[in-house]
């Protein structure tokens, strides 16, 4: 493999990993507060469609991105109301949210399918993009990719270095104890859910406004599910989420590159890998012992009512 090929593979890896990082960081914060939201795919799709429509109608791509985040946020509020206010089963609510989001986005976007849009263009960061190797891989992307870098740093610092992050984690470990120390458990969980929604919306916007500027039903193609699995694989650590997303990106790019180079790999086998891994992890999660080993937030998925 020559230099150019390697640089391009790594460049494509960053781009492929970006939507996963965005959703997964949102879900990470949400799960750290003890709330499991399986509605990522639905929220992403709503973000993608609303962002696309807003960008097309207003002619402003950044307004589109804002609307996408708002759409994801609205969806997460719906989840919050059912799962937090009404203390419904989080798994069932999340699944319903995905199904609802898939259907609603198809309905809302039906007039916009097949409409072209000039998407968010790459922006080469002056000076940084001139650095050999690294400059082309990391600093010649569209602004949403840079935003994902910033958001990663933000989430990392929030979870590991901030007081607020500590409070969030306390709520995820034991909401009862957290409440006893005076933490507003309900409010913290709501904010975490909303952050997850906005991030999923942003990831949707990345797909429909930057990566492949178009709207089509189900265009997220399962990325919300992969992100969910990523959070578990990363054992709820932000730096591992980043690594995992790029690793996944690298895998899917390598799978395409290898074929072009003439290696014979079964494309079907590679395509099912992330899903297979998700199932394995979910099975492992169902055992309490494994949960502890995986550093899962202890109260993950367990409803907590403000009256408790």
């Amino acid at each position: 493999m020559d230099y150019d090929l390697i640089v391009n593979i790594l460049y494509a890896t960053v781009r492929t990993g970006t939507p996963l990082i965005l959703v997964a960081l949102g879900e990470l914060v949400c799960e750290k507060s003890g709330v499991l939201n399986l509605g990522q795919e639905g929220m992403m799709l709503m973000g993608a469609v609303i962002g696309f429509i807003a960008a097309l109608e207003t002619g402003n791509l950044w307004l589109g991105v804002t609307f996408a985040m708002a759409a994801g946020l609205m969806m997460s509020l719906l989840f919050g109301f059912i799962a937090l206010n009404l203390s419904a089963n989080q798994v069932a609510t999340g699944l319903a949210l995905t199904i609802f989001g898939t259907g609603l986005s198809a309905f809302v976007g039906s007039d916009y399918v097949g409409t072209p849009l000039v998407g968010i263009e790459p922006w080469h960061i002056p000076l940084l993009s001139d650095i050999p190797f690294v400059g082309r891989i990391l600093f010649s992307h569209d602004p949403l990719v840079y935003l994902s870098f910033g958001l990663f740093v933000g989430v990392y610092l929030f979870l590991n270095r901030s007081h607020a992050g500590l409070a969030l984690k306390a709520v995820g470990e034991s909401p009862q104890s957290a409440k006893a120390t005076g933490l507003p458990v309900f409010k913290i969980r709501y904010l975490a859910v909303m952050f997850g929604g906005a991030m999923a919306g942003l990831a949707g916007a990345y797909l429909s406004l930057a990566y492949t500027p178009l709207w089509a039903e189900n265009m997220t193609a399962g990325r919300g599910w992969i992100a969910l699995a990523l959070v578990v694989f990363a054992s709820w650590k932000a730096e591992r989420v980043l690594l995992g997303a790029y690793l996944f990106g690298a895998f899917s790019i390598m799978h395409l590159v290898a074929q072009g180079l003439g290696f014979s790999v079964s494309p079907n086998l590679l395509a099912i890998m992330p899903y297979l891994a998700t199932i394995v992890v979910l099975v492992m999660l169902s055992s309490d012992k494994a949960r502890v080993k995986l550093y899962a937030p202890v109260s993950l998925g367990k409803p907590f009512h403000p009256a408790d």
């Binding site: 399918v113 990566y211 089509a216 039903e217 899917s252 395409l256 590159v257 074929q259 003439g262 014979s264």
Partner: protein
Amino acid sequence: MKQEKKSLAQRFAKAAGVALALFMSAQSVTAAEPVKVGFVYVGPTGDAGWTYSHDKARKYVEEQLGDKVKTTYVESVAEGADAERVIRQLAKSGNDLIFTTSFGYMNPTLKVAKQFPKVKFEHASGYKRAKNVGTYFDRIYEGRYLTGVIAGKMTKSNIVGYVGSFPIPEVVRGIDAFTQGLRSVNPKAVVKVVWVSSWYDPAKEREAAETLILQGADIINQHTDSPGPIQAAQAKGVYAFGYHSDMSLYGKDAHLTAATHNWGPVYLEKVKSVMDGSWTSTDFWGGLASGATALAPLNPAIPEDVVKLVEERKQAIIDGKLHPFQGPVKDQSGAVKVPAGEVMSDEDLLSLNWYVEGVEGELPK
């Protein structure tokens, strides 16, 4: 009592007569009513691809027949149990002819057809037929052969990329036909294939196209449904072919042309045959000659002599003088699979599972 009974029987007879008369008149009214045609689509009508091509044909039929026909369509119907429900509903609501336009509708169509023997069904791309179920498909590979001719003349790197969905005969046939066209004008050119294991994932299709461009391809063809590859080609400044329908909206400079389905004439004929009662269950597989397969408008960047050559080849295929798979057809090892003077049979075309000479890499099993 007896008298009364008799009169009751008479009344019954009379009532039956009236009912029969009413029924007969209703029948004659039906005859004057427009023929009702239903369509079941797997995707949204605005997908710029497969479903769009069918809906365009539905509108064409309406235009041609005016108030003599009444069409209904249901879009985004998942293959499987949901499809059966939708097809049954269309049959129940009095449609005379129902087009089910996706491969996965095959068994649901046959099941419903059994319950509604008077309704006619036409299933796209399937292989199972019944007395009231016909099948139809287009020879899109003829269009792909022509795109191959264009690619052979336009490529500078002599590497052409192909984004594939799944290695099934339909897709392999397209790759082979394209390669046959390519090599007929440029024996040095090769085709590189990348499979994405998906019919529709714009982001992945785009990455696949960019990977191929990176490895030297200066023209991209696709057998997936999204404009992702066109967007990639436009961004990288190379050429590409669309599929299903004209995708030039997504990359004006990149889009050379597209091998498209043109179901309009096919549907019109089927509807007409139901109207005059001549419909029978058939297996229709038509290409350029029947108009079922067509090329989208050519990019002005294609030189005039190439346009002329494509027109000649197209006419030759229509006249039956040229077949994309006319011998000698060699496989990757150079072995002659179709000897000179012969053409590949339809049966072999339908089960094609090997690459012709000129395709690089191994066909995944």
